[in-house]
């Protein structure tokens, strides 16, 4: 099965990719996709413990099952709005 993976912000820059397709053996989960990503992009390894995951634009837990064609997004800590104390 194939899933589309979307990368944003620091992860997109680190991987030099904003969208890619990965092939996973069934039954696949977000956790297995994470492992596949870590193998393909070793530079992401230190980011992945701190991200959230979204499947088809909704946050999901890491043990969620994936289906063929799913859009999996790796969500680093968000910072929309304004006014963070830097």
């Amino acid at each position: 099965m194939m899933v589309t993976v979307k990368l944003f912000a620091s992860l997109r820059e680190r991987a030099s990719a904003s969208e890619l397709r990965i092939e996973l053996a069934e039954p696949a989960t977000v956790a297995l996709a994470r492992d596949a990503l870590a193998e393909r992009f070793p530079t992401l390894c230190d980011f992945l413990p701190r991200v959230a995951w979204a499947v088809n634009r909704a946050y999901v837990p890491i043990e969620t099952e994936l289906r063929d064609g799913d859009e999996l997004a790796v969500i680093p800590p968000v910072s929309g709005g304004c006014d963070d104390v830097t």
Binding site: A9, S10, R50, I75, P77, V78, G80, G81, T86
Partner: protein
Amino acid sequence: MTSHEDWISLLPEPLDAAAAVAFVTDGQAGGIDVFLGTTRAETSSDGRALIALDYEAYEQMAVEQLRELARRARERWPIVRLAILHRTGRVAVAEPSVIIAVSTPHRAESFTACRRLIDTLKQDVAIWKKEVWADGSGTWVGGNPNDETRNPNE
């Protein structure tokens, strides 16, 4: 109360506060609260000046999340009209990155709803920002694996 469609948008161009105010102005409302988040001038610990913030969004997800925020706010407060506008791209110092405008029958509700909307937006909407410094360097906020920012699902 008539329910009007909300104005929810991610925009690459400068946000127009007057248009947001005009959108939420309504004869059923006695109070309008408008919040603008603007890029504040900063100096980094090593003396570099902040010149802008670059905003990146997972656009389809972020718009769905903003619509869901709006829906939940309408369940909770008697909102007459509501606009949530957020920038993408580069936002220079003093320019707004986000505008939330809420009209309600009475003033207290407009403050409470607007405040809650901006607080919630910052917590879980799929938007990221990068600090852009005068020397050309950039820092993703929350994007450093060694810092302490929580991820939105924790």
